[in-house]
């Protein structure tokens, strides 16, 4: 069965650089969620999209922005990277009417 695809799987950036993380949801899933998991921590909700519109916003820094495109894939753009942004970033998808979220393998971002 198709799963959520995230790219890249690993990313190394310098401080103050920018990064773009991509998420491709399971086919026919119309909702995408982004979570950030710091080292040894639980995942924290960042932002979500339903039918290409932002549906909810969590603890996402102003330096980050995201969007969902017409093919339902989503991109998380991160600017002015800080050391504290080093984390595992998960994307999850679900379809309308279902509360079950399917998670991707994550993108591990390291900021040096």
């Amino acid at each position: 069965a198709a799963g959520v695809i995230q790219s890249p799987r690993h990313l190394i950036k310098e401080k103050r650089e920018t990064a773009t993380l991509k998420c491709y949801p399971i086919p026919r899933h119309d909702t995408v969620y982004w979570y950030q998991q710091g080292p040894g921590q639980d995942p924290q909700f960042l932002i979500s999209f339903y039918e290409k519109m932002q549906s909810d916003k969590g603890s996402i820094p102003d330096r980050f922005s995201a969007q969902q495109f017409s093919d339902y894939h989503s991109e998380l753009n991160m600017s002015s990277l800080e050391l504290g942004d080093s984390a595992l970033y998960f994307c999850a998808s679900s379809r309308t009417g279902s509360r079950e979220q399917f998670f991707g393998p994550g993108t591990r971002l390291t900021v040096l």
Partner: protein, 115 residues
């Protein structure tokens, strides 16, 4: 707002022994409840979920959980663990009436199964 508390950060157990991972939640509204498992360097996999109906929920890999509304708990159990169950386990909730279904996670419990 909701919050989730996993009462044990680490649970060591011998292989073939039973295990219980505890989860309590706090919410002013009705919630859905989930348990996810995370193996090292991997994503989150859904073990089981409670949406409605029977309070005893069976999931994958022989796990089950019981929703107790009066105690606001959703403890995860397995009668006999295997070495391969060694992983991080997260309890999570989402607001029933919320539009988005975002998950609020607990701090996680590391299950260490010893031979």
């Amino acid at each position: 707002a909701q919050s989730v508390t996993q009462l044990d950060s680490q649970v060591p157990v011998f292989e073939e022994a039973p295990v219980e991972l505890r989860c309590n939640y706090s919410s002013s509204v009705s919630v859905y409840l989930f348990w996810y498992v995370q193996y090292p360097n991997q994503g989150l996999q859904l073990l089981l979920k409670y949406l409605s109906g029977s309070t005893l929920v069976k999931g994958i890999n022989g796990f089950e959980a019981e929703f107790n509304k009066s105690q606001t708990s959703f403890h995860l159990r397995k009668p006999s663990v295997h070495i391969s169950d060694t992983a991080e386990y997260f309890c999570a909730v989402s607001d029933v009436s919320g539009n988005t279904g975002k998950l609020i996670f607990g701090q996680g419990t590391t299950l260490q199964v010893k031979p």
